[in-house]
Assembly symmetry: C2
Homo-oligomer: 208 residues x 2
């Protein structure tokens, strides 16, 4: 344990959405890779890992994305805007996705067909569930990327204001892929709002 960053609870408390980025400060590809490596530690159903991250970071590509995203300045002002992609859940990929856990010696090989069968029973021929899982998986990944960026001192802005079919077309998404959200990441400008107040706990929590 060599982590000398902000404490985990403080990082959660300190997070706010960054609307204004410093357009003069980029981040390098190694940091983008580290952000996505950390993002993919997030949990996915059956370890499907049905996600993909497109890091849009050249001026040309960011401008192209901004045109499809309500012309929001943060798409181009941020150092990188990720297209966080979810893939329709498909049980058939599980043997490949679980093979490293079997190879590592903790998951019995005999358990894999059972997981594949359970995933098939959930998703096969169930397009709404396949889509829900694509959205859940991409969002779990994006959420962890937000926390990783926060720990590195970077600001983040999740966005859903964009033309999803046009983004899918322009950035080469496959037929089984959805652009679940955009996530701008970069150095925050000083003038951002604080985190907006939240609903009282009594309105959102029931104890049973």
């Amino acid at each position: 344990m060599t982590d000398t960053t902000i404490g985990a609870i403080d990082a959660i408390e300190a997070r706010r959405t960054t609307n204004l980025f410093d357009p003069t400060r980029g981040i390098d590809d190694a940091q983008i890779q580290e952000l996505v490596r950390l993002a993919t530690t997030a949990p996915t159903s059956f370890n499907l890992q049905n996600w993909r991250f497109i890091a849009v970071r050249t001026p040309e590509a960011k401008a192209r994305l901004r045109q499809l995203a309500w012309d929001q300045a943060k798409v181009t002002d941020a150092a990188v805007t990720f297209i966080v992609v979810g893939q329709l859940a498909d049980h058939r990929v599980l043997p490949e996705r679980l093979a490293p856990a079997v190879a590592a010696g903790f998951m019995p090989a005999a358990m894999v067909p059972g997981w594949e069968g359970a995933a098939k029973s959930l998703y096969h021929g169930q397009p709404q569930r396949q889509r829900d899982e694509a959205v859940r998986t991409a969002t779990f990944g994006a959420g962890t990327l937000v926390h990783a960026a926060q720990a590195m001192g970077l600001g983040t802005a999740p966005m859903i204001g964009f033309d999803a079919p046009a983004v899918a077309e322009a950035f080469g998404l496959a037929a089984d892929e959805l652009p679940v959200l955009l996530l701008a990441v970069g150095h925050a400008a000083p003038e951002n709002w604080p985190r907006k107040p939240r609903r009282p706990l009594a309105q959102v929590l029931s104890l049973v």
Copy 2:
């Protein structure tokens, strides 16, 4: 900053799904409330906060939920299993949800109708988008709850193996609410697996 917990990056690295919980160790309601308070710092579209958390923590309620969740032992072995609920996105709640940001003085009141209009243009008469937003919001909240629990030394297990309509019925969800996932939280037993290996970064990250 008084946080003396694990560093934020270490907490992300250390997270793994807990399948085996110590059924003898509970957590108290104050800790449940703190977990949900931290969870609701997560971002939501337009600050809709279209989520709800049902903390299922009595033996009777956990047993009832387990019957509807493939009889998974972790539902009852964990100290608490949350039903993380997403609400279909509805622009009409925005004036109420944004009022505290206006009252706090940083959001101009004149900006609220514009946000409401943008949310209406996205969601009104768009049931798939309303549902996608319910899933995204609940998952962002659950993801932050996972990280908060990790920082407190607790284990977590997201679950999608459950009978969603039956859970909605048994736990009194409204017509516009979906049980997006179950999230077991508690003290981990010693025998859990490590985190399963992830796909190579080259398979999940594109730089453009």
